[in-house]
């Protein structure tokens, strides 16, 4: 069976085979749930207190290393809602593009279909934010501190360290809580994740430059046969190696900085 080649074709394909439709009603439900989760999370004690704590973490890092931990004032860190179009694109990628079972008799992906009945629990980042730190070591340090912090606020904390062959490095903290939501006449409790990405200043800059490329790459159904590492003319070559090089350079900067600390020289 031919794979639906984009999210629009996927919706048409899905709606023909399922009673749980992806339609205007589903979009309305998504708007309600994402807005509700964002509102409740940003008004939670855990989040408000985190903003205060980030100042403390920053001051502590300053005292210890003589550098800023964060690139932004904590008050300027805002939660965002994933747009409906991006959300549907992610559902399509999970159910079609990354589905290794598509050509088998039972085409359901491992872990089952992502459907309007379970997608709030299955998609990690319907509400998300990004915290940018100055140096490499700030990523782990902040992830650990935020984990400790949110455990005091009835949040399940799931850290996730990604390092892909394609030069993508990212650290996320997924904060899982139950939200009571209205479905028809009844309310149901759903475990939904809010995602905090922690990245470095340099990765943030490179990420902004290569975002368009990665977004296009994710929309491809098939990967080229030749390995991107051996095709210096292919679209992947430069951005992927920039990802690796930046990661390496950041590590090297840390080594130099740490040597400076040992020698008693700051800045």
């Amino acid at each position: 069976m031919d794979k639906p080649s984009n999210p629009e074709d996927y919706i048409e394909w899905w709606n023909k085979r399922s009673d749980v439709k992806i339609d205007k009603a589903a979009e309305g439900q998504y708007t309600y749930v994402s807005t509700f989760v964002k509102y409740n999370f940003e008004n939670s004690r855990g989040w408000k207190e985190l903003i205060h704590q980030l100042h403390n973490y920053d001051a502590e890092y300053q005292r210890r290393y003589g550098y800023d931990l964060l690139m932004k004032r904590p008050e300027d860190i805002k939660l965002d809602i994933k747009e409906w179009g991006s959300f549907l694109s992610k559902v399509w990628r999970k159910n079609v593009v990354n589905n290794k079972n598509w050509d088998k008799e039972e085409i359901q992906p491992d872990g089952g279909w992502v459907t309007p009945l379970n997608w709030f629990e299955r998609i990690n980042d319907i509400v998300r934010t990004r915290v940018v730190v100055k140096y490499f070591d700030g990523v782990g340090l902040l992830l650990d501190k935020m984990c400790d912090h949110f455990r005091n606020y009835e949040c399940e904390c799931i850290p996730d360290w990604e390092a892909r062959e394609e030069g993508y490095y990212a650290a996320h903290l997924n904060l899982v809580r139950d939200y009571e939501l209205l479905f028809g006449l009844e309310t149901k409790k759903k475990s939904i994740r809010v995602e905090i990405q922690v990245t470095t200043q340099m990765k943030d800059v490179i990420g902004a430059l290569t975002h368009k490329y990665y977004a296009e790459k994710r929309m491809r159904l098939e990967l080229p046969e030749e390995k991107w590492q051996w095709d210096y003319n292919c679209d992947e070559f430069a951005p992927n190696y920039i990802g690796h090089i930046v990661h390496y350079v950041e590590g090297a900067i840390m080594a130099i900085r740490d040597r400076g600390q040992v020698n008693g020289k700051n800045r």
């Binding site: 205007k24 009603a25 309305g28 708007t31 309600y32 807005t35 509700f36 964002k38 509102y39 009571e180 209205l182 028809g184 006449l185 309310t187």
Partner: protein
């Protein structure tokens, strides 16, 4: 169509009191949307409905807000929780092609009780859809909205088979 009174702020205040809406931030938001709706709608506003429900701990939540005129409906989803509420307007008179009604502990011929629930959904031929949920006494308001604006506007046309 029966004559419907012009919607004024004191009428809305009375409705908000019956809903036990207490947070100033919510009331201010309703006022802002009402003022926006008066400027947006080509006709005079005649009706309002705010969807509500109750969580398992008894806490009431407000969800969406609608303003009605004789021929138009203005919808503001998640009116109290959105940072920037978005108002959408459509013409619904003789344009509704599907209605679904679900009720729990609610008898249409009687007054609502504290545990009544009513869920009404409709969509128009223009693909506009409205999803109303009411809890407790608010079911009576929803019933009245249904009687005044929805039921009478089910369209005859190509999709209905009644031309």
């Amino acid at each position: 169509m029966e004559k419907i009174d012009k919607l004024e702020w004191p009428t809305i205040e009375g409705y908000l009191e019956r809903l036990r809406m207490q947070a100033d931030v919510d009331i201010t938001r309703v006022r802002e949307i009402f003022d926006l709706g008066r400027n947006l709608c080509p006709e005079q506003l005649t009706g309002i409905f705010i969807s509500n429900y109750v969580e398992s701990d008894g806490k009431q939540q407000f969800k969406d807000l609608w303003l009605f005129s004789e021929n138009y409906v203005i919808e503001v989803l998640n009116f109290s929780k959105s940072e920037m509420p978005k108002a959408e307007m459509t013409i619904f008179s003789h344009n509704i092609c599907f209605i679904s009604v679900e009720a729990k502990n609610y008898d249409f011929s009687k007054t609502a009780t504290d545990d009544s629930r009513l869920h009404i959904y409709f969509h128009a031929r223009s693909l506009f859809r409205c999803d109303f949920t009411a809890f407790g006494q608010n079911c009576d308001t929803l019933k009245s909205i249904f009687e005044k604006y929805i039921k009478s506007n089910l369209a005859r046309g190509e999709t209905s088979g009644l031309l």
